[in-house]
């Protein structure tokens, strides 16, 4: 009312609300850099979105489930509508899970969406991490975001585990018993930890209530924080992109957040939710009613954890039963070593970006993605890790494999024991060969052009296939990747003529660098000179 401007025109309602918010939150400054933020397009970039959306779906459905679930181990006799369990003694946790499944309209659907989304969340993270790994998107400046993602993956596994243990059914109780046995194997602290976690001897009466607060509050709280941090960093670093015409390490090419990515990414949330809802409507997951309540002296055959715990299960199943007693104390190596190996395999994921950057000595920012073939050793290492993981997944289901394929359980276990070591080595060699082959093909395509499939007969009767030179855009895409030279050990004689011994660290780094970038470990990409020489004398192929 005081200034002349105000009286001239009345801003529309939306703008007035935005003005109000801007005066308090500074939203215009925020929108300036983000509303038209550019997102590159590639199918593999949606894998992370699947994780984000399934995480949101899990939170939504999880809140609903807390309204009906009773996290209590008080024993009751069931009198609900599921006839086969009537009159059976069970904990309130199990009874309320039956109620959610049979007496709450839509309860079963929400339970199944929750569980399906959890399984998909973990699978999504697994594949999303593969994408980031194989394209080198973890390199500077994104190492910390790689760690955030890694933590989400690990915490996701444990949130899943504490979650599926809550119904206190026979299968999940068996899984908890396994965990308790594993805790007992820890030297010195094992028995204390077990007593403290379970409030006394297994199974006790506290497990469900304690797992409940871990599952719905502690772990998801940390995860939510990590997800937010992960997204903030994705925004801050801007997205990576593949090499191509117009794309450089100093720009980001794609379409603006508003409207295209709002519609695509927002729409994708509904696609993911819709697919999970339909799956949950059609396919049963974790039918706890068929298993019965947990009792420490009962068990079912074919007991399996959720898939993401399968490789830990495999490690435990494949391990020989080593047990050493020294000075009256027992080292339960048969259980302890798999636990340690589980940690080591996960830690390798976290450590990899730092190891690779140490080997390359590269301190620059990388925003252009590697094609997996152009980093043969990294790709081969990744495939070797996945092979070991998959072998252990087979090991975790050795009984299922044995019964389905009519094999001896001992033979399956021995296969797993041997191939856990042999498999990754074979996978490493084969993958590297494939990568180098593909690099050769790229080089050939750049220098000689694309095979057209057109056969030409020359005047003197010779048949040749016509090769078509590639477009400049294509040539650029195939030659844009950088190739490192192996790191040599620096001069061993300094300027004063004093000899110095290369340190073990230097030697190791030089060795590893040769393994990554030495002769035979990458194919030199076509150079401009080679290209010009060949195209000058064209007609010869």
């Amino acid at each position: 009312m005081s200034t002349a401007n105000d009286t001239k025109r009345k801003a529309p309602a939306g703008e007035r609300v935005a003005d109000w918010a801007d005066g308090r939150l500074g939203i215009y400054t925020l929108a300036k850099s983000n509303m038209r933020k550019i997102f590159p397009d590639h199918w593999s970039f949606m894998l992370g979105e699947i994780c984000l959306y399934s995480f949101l779906i899990i939170i939504l459905t999880g809140v609903y489930l807390t309204l009906f679930f009773h996290p209590s181990m008080n024993e009751v006799v069931y009198h609900g509508s599921y006839v086969p369990m009537q009159g059976v003694r069970m904990t309130e946790a199990y009874a309320s899970t039956l109620d959610i499944s049979f007496d709450v309209r839509g309860g079963l659907l929400i339970r199944q969406i929750h569980h399906w989304a959890a399984v998909i969340f973990l699978a999504g993270m697994f594949v999303h991490m593969m994408r980031v790994f194989f394209t080198g998107a973890f390199r500077k400046p994104r190492e910390i975001n790689w760690l955030f993602g890694f933590l989400l993956f690990v915490l996701g596994m444990f949130t899943g585990f504490t979650g599926y243990s809550l119904p206190d059914d026979l299968l999940s109780g068996t899984g908890v018993r396994f965990t308790q046995g594993a805790i007992l194997s820890m030297p010195i602290v094992g028995t204390y930890l077990s007593m403290f976690i379970f409030g006394g001897e297994f199974p006790g009466h506290d497990m469900v209530a304690r797992f409940y607060s871990i599952h719905i509050l502690l772990l998801p709280g940390i995860m939510l924080g990590l997800v937010v941090a992960h997204l903030i960093l994705v925004f801050y670093h801007k997205h990576t992109q593949f090499a191509g015409p117009g794309r450089t390490n100093k720009n980001v090419v794609g379409m603006p957040f508003m409207p295209v990515y709002m519609a695509k990414a927002g729409g994708f949330f509904f696609l993911v939710f819709g697919v999970i809802a339909a799956i949950a409507g059609m396919f049963t997951i974790n039918p706890v009613w068929a298993l019965g309540p947990y009792r420490p002296d009962h068990v079912s055959t074919g007991a399996q954890p959720d898939w993401y715990m399968g490789f830990a299960e495999g490690l435990v199943r494949a391990m020989p039963g080593w047990e050493i007693t020294v000075w009256g104390h027992t080292f339960v190596l048969g259980v302890l070593l798999p636990l340690v190996l589980f940690g080591v395999m996960l830690a390798a994921i976290a450590a990899y970006p730092f190891i690779e950057s140490w080997i390359t000595g590269d301190k620059r920012e990388h925003h252009i993605l590697d094609r997996p073939r152009n980093a043969p050793t990294r790709t081969a290492l990744g495939v070797a890790w996945i092979t070991g993981y998959m072998i252990m997944l087979i090991g975790g289901g050795n009984d299922i494999v044995a019964t389905y394929f009519h094999l001896s359980i001992n033979a399956v276990t021995w296969f797993v024991r041997i191939f856990f070591f042999v498999g990754p080595v074979l996978a490493f060699i084969i993958t590297k060969r494939i990568c180098l082959g593909l690099q050769r093909r790229d080089r050939d395509k750049v220098l000689h052009g694309r095979e057209t499939g057109i056969i030409k007969r020359l005047p003197h009767g010779e048949f040749v296939e016509v090769h078509e030179p590639l477009s400049q855009a294509h040539l650029h895409a195939l030659t844009a990747h950088e190739q490192y030279a192996p790191a040599e050990i620096g001069p061993t004689v300094d300027e004063n003529g004093v000899e110095r011994k290369p340190t073990a660290k230097e030697k190791l780094r030089s060795k590893l660098s040769k393994g990554y970038y030495g002769e035979g470990n990458q194919i030199p990409k076509a150079t401009v000179e080679e290209y010009k020489e060949i195209s000058a004398g064209h007609g010869h192929h």
Partner: protein, 349 residues
């Protein structure tokens, strides 16, 4: 992480020089963004109209599906089971709610994505990146500010404050740690004992009657618990997790282990049912070989040879319970297990 000790010559030349003017005529040079190719919707308004109708149709289907969801919620009783090929017998509520919700959500997503792909601009735009590292001047300013702040705090100079502050901060979490002590009791000797004791009769867990030797036939597997234990007991699960017993009968001549024979009664042997690997109850018995297999991790034990491990990840044999027959002709324990049952642990020895 320093790489000073190794020459930096191995690094590829700065990427930018490859795009610099000097090599602009290189056949591999970055040709820049290709010109935008219009879609059919960009040039033909009828095609754009068709896309608009497709999007609207998808949103309409979503609305109808939501109506369907509400209708299914109201119509179907919660316990109605229907046969649907190829899913089999399924809950009508669950299937109809899941499908309608799925369609309602999916069509919103499909509509939005189709809208974005066909009607919103698909011209690619380039945005510049800026280095994340601060410029040297900025860094110098921050370092100077920090140095001033640190100096004003006098933390470096007043060592007494620093030392006692670190001490206080390091000690205060101990209170939280101490509080965690109440989570559970100390292990003491709890894992070493079970409810079994001299004179306790073996109760058949199927009939809840005391077991008699003539009840146990060769080739059968019987589960037993100590007398005095009841499923209604508050701590039944804790007890049975250690007390559970499996009983088989083997021809005394087939028992290879001397102590096992001594601790048996007329070929009847009693072993802990709890696997020594991680504590699953063992339940698979092979009559011919007297092998038992734990279904969780496939540890296999030979009950005719002191229940030693013959395959799998278990580290030691199943503990045996010494049994005999009392005056009433019922099987009874002659004491507790001689060693802890279940998974091994540090103090087990």
């Amino acid at each position: 992480m320093s790489s000073q000790e190794i020459s930096e010559e191995s690094l590829p030349s700065e990427q930018d020089t490859a795009h610099g003017k000097a090599v602009a005529e290189s056949p591999f040079a970055n040709p820049g963004l290709p010109p935008h190719k219009p879609r059919i919707q960009d040039i033909d308004e009828r095609a754009a109209k068709r896309s608009e109708r497709t999007v609207a149709l998808l949103f309409t289907i979503s609305m109808l599906a939501t109506v369907g969801f509400i209708a299914s919620f109201v119509i179907f009783p919660v316990d109605k089971i229907v046969y649907v090929w190829p899913l089999g017998h399924v809950s009508a509520t669950n299937l109809s709610l899941g499908l309608t919700l799925g369609i309602a959500l999916f069509c919103i997503g499909a509509g939005a994505v189709h809208w974005a792909r066909t009607l919103m601009s698909d011209a690619e735009v380039a945005d510049d990146r800026h280095p994340i590292e601060a410029a040297p001047e900025l860094k110098a300013k921050v370092m100077a500010d920090f140095a001033q702040g640190a100096q004003e705090s006098a933390l470096g100079r007043r060592k007494l404050i620093r030392t006692t502050m670190f001490g206080a901060l390091a000690m205060v979490p101990l209170s939280g740690l101490v509080l965690l002590r109440e989570l559970g009791p100390m292990p003491e000797k709890k894992l070493f004992h079970t409810s079994w004791a001299k004179g306790k009769q073996l109760i058949n867990m199927n009939t809840m009657q005391p077991l008699r030797p003539e009840d146990v036939a060769v080739g059968s597997l019987t589960f037993a618990m100590p007398e005095g234990l009841s499923e209604e007991d508050h701590d039944f699960n804790n007890k049975i997790a250690k007390d559970a017993l499996m009983i088989v009968r083997i021809q005394p001549a087939d028992i290879k282990d001397k102590r096992e024979l001594e601790w048996s009664y007329d070929g009847i042997v009693a072993f802990s049912k709890i696997c020594t690997h991680v504590g699953c109850p063992i339940s698979l018995y092979e009559q011919q070989t007297h092998h038992v297999l734990c279904p969780c991790h496939q540890s296999t034990f030979d009950l005719s040879d002191g229940a030693r491990v013959i395959f799998g990840p278990a580290g030691h044999a199943l503990p045996q319970l010494r049994i005999g027959v009392n005056g009433k002709g019922n099987l009874e324990a002659l004491g507790d297990f001689a060693e802890p049952v279940g998974p091994a642990f540090w103090e087990r020895g």
